[in-house]
Assembly symmetry: D2
Homo-oligomer: 250 residues x 4
């Protein structure tokens, strides 16, 4: 196989793919979000590769805390989640972005995971979790510490729900220990903070393309076969070859 | 698509796949490991589906702590890791099993991750991490708490190294809060502890089959395309469409 | 020292202590919260020992997400936090209770930590974080997994803010792996779920009394001496004996 | 109270205190450990304040993995832990230092926690965990990410065992995201890496003094009172005022 070249863009590698990026920044004004700046880099790649990209700035929506599909049935006056879910459930690629606060993903990020979790009982026509068609990624920014911890929490939740996590599906930027400038904050002189980070750039490119490649592979394969993960069949008594160890010992 | 049936074993779904299971129990006698009992359930499914399954009981090996490929070059008298790695690097499926101690995966599990991490600079012929051909899973047993936390730590490490994590790639068993019997401990009357857990059984089946399916899909696709994740190309200046946000704003 | 006896209640051990318990359940109706049931056990002990106990059911309050002291200055219509903080900042004992969702503390719990974090720049008259007078604890309930992970996250945040964490300052109840009844759910026959757990009972008693004892010790000692932690003095150039290793080597 | 002054060293604040620092670096040669450099800063403060300081470089000892007090009774040829424990159990202050590998504390750090955990059944003369007399801290170095996560894991384990965690009991240094120099690596020009970090310096000073202050307070108070945490009394039926919620409701 010949080496890939910088000028060989695998044109339209993401054609027909739907990507949903959800930014869980606590900043209501999306233009001020540092995480949004990082996400824009991945979104642009995907968009240019042919994907239909939706960006949701969650803080602009009225999404109550809860673990139900529609919190209006549980005492909330409003709930934008059902409408957001209509978009999310169509995604081939789902990327969650979060800032870091005290070493953790934002409370809004946890709210999002709770609302996604509320949908996890839904099955597709194969009896699999509704999330089985999706691949998932995580994008993190903070000014000091916690990238891996937050990415780990997000990616674990996504795979638990039913997403596939391709290799190296997280990226982000953090600065040196202690308070300091955030990603994309102006520096004078020099590029905006973090823009010169080869590591952040490379991992963003890798994550983005791996999400595209895996979504394409999964779509072309018609998703995962149902054998072994069909929850309706399990409920009906199928055990897919599972044998208890005591039987194995005999 | 017709529903899958319990008697429809997708025969040889795992043909030609190599699976390596590594148990990081602290118990030197593998026959006493509770985690081994759980792992046997997944191994049996894979084996019957045609995979070549290798089980490594890590506590039986002389693997020094360290973050180098061969610790004999760094002061250790012996190091079984290079020989173990010969096996691991051929795997299509890599499963790490661990017990839980004080809410965490075992120290031996951390040692394993460190030794795997020591190999992460190795690239395949596409310039991708050597782990790109593998799918990864995690199997956890404990008597009280920590399954998700340990699984999250393991799966994050695996995807960071370059493995693909299919949906619901972890499973295990824990008991009620507080000290108590461990998985597979005899109960009288009743089945061995945990054997009657529908949840543990179902998740073991799902994890196992999703590992098989994803490994098959990935193998059939020839692995992930290199565009975007070819580190040699990146080093040579390829940017794969990455544009800094400041350029995007113009 | 003679052994303590069950009928020797150390009467009024908590006299003059203020305790604030904050439940971050997502359930708006506090009477339905499983975590509230567990918290009541600790609250009753403290109250009988003479403490003034305040219980806050956070879901009943209008507390916007954010990392500022008053979100009304940042676009929110309402913000109950400033009024809640008036109560919290007087606490000698601060206990955070949370349910577990997908292995993590609730989003409301993260919101609370973010709002507490927003106050961490406030210093007391010694130049210490305003939280230095408090001791902190964590109470967790869930139906399957995550007690230690959630407790770890909460206690770390509390000590980072400036609380003292006494020995064994967490407690809770979880059931066996997989879905199942929650703490205090009715069982028939038998006591309510979890009520017969010696482990949950014992750890609740230990946590509660250690919070009381440590709050008393800290109060009697006049808090922590300021030498070494006086941030104003640090800003003014005090280094409290800190020497860089390069100087040490000479 | 007059403000503390830089030239007011609270002489001998740590007199009669025993401090044990354990470095869990994977580097066998302690002089090459970056974490050791940071730990030396805290050790020097304590030593000058009158504490008897012991530094243990764990990688130089033969401490097998396991969860027993003496692994020689469980198949190990050697075990230095019993001798190390003789030192640890006398400590008023216990500090664990660790490097970060793939976002986590070292495997040796996990081994140490497991061996400490193996001792947690030991009770002092009050029926409390043998660790009740100790205060605990965590010191972390890494070149990119994970300080808070590792500190959280260590401090949680210490408080779970029975140590008191004073305010802001962790410190460390990490650099910007991605590979880079480690703490104390030479820079030319400029001071050694991290030495100019006001944040790392300040937090090291705060942690160190808070450990001293809290150990002093705890020692002067004669430790924590036994009421409520006396495990022997609990086993004998004492409930220390604990009442189940169902009784509370009546």
């Amino acid at each position: 196989m010949p080496p890939s070249r910088p000028d060989d863009p695998t044109p339209q590698a993401a054609a027909e793919l739907q990507a949903v990026f959800i930014n869980t920044s606590l900043e209501r004004d999306g233009t001020k979000s540092h995480t949004a700046k990082l996400m824009a880099m991945a979104e642009t790649i995907m968009s240019r590769a042919g994907a239909a990209v939706t960006h949701i700035h969650l803080a602009n929506h009225d999404m109550p805390n809860g673990v139900h599909a529609d919190m209006r049935a549980h005492g909330a006056d409003n709930d934008d989640w059902p409408r957001l879910w209509d978009k999310v459930k169509e995604a081939d690629i789902l990327v969650i972005g979060t800032p870091i606060w005290l070493g953790q993903e934002s409370s809004l990020c946890r709210s999002l995971v709770e609302r996604l979790y509320a949908m996890s009982g839904m099955l597709n026509e194969k009896g699999q979790s509704i999330f089985y068609g999706m691949v998932g990624g995580a994008m993190i920014t903070g000014n000091e510490d916690g990238l891996k911890h937050c990415a780990s929490n997000i990616l674990f939740a996504l795979q638990h729900l039913g997403c596939t996590v391709p290799p190296q599906a997280d990226c982000g930027w953090i600065g040196e220990v202690g308070p300091g400038p955030s990603f994309a904050d102006p520096q004078n002189p020099g590029p905006a903070t973090g823009f010169d980070s080869d590591f952040a750039q490379r991992n963003t490119a890798i994550m983005t393309w791996n999400l595209i490649h895996m979504a394409r592979i999964l779509k072309d394969a018609g998703g995962l076969p149902r054998y072994g993960n069909d929850r309706n069949a399990w409920s009906d008594g199928a055990r897919f070859g599972l044998t208890l160890p005591e039987a194995l010992a005999h």
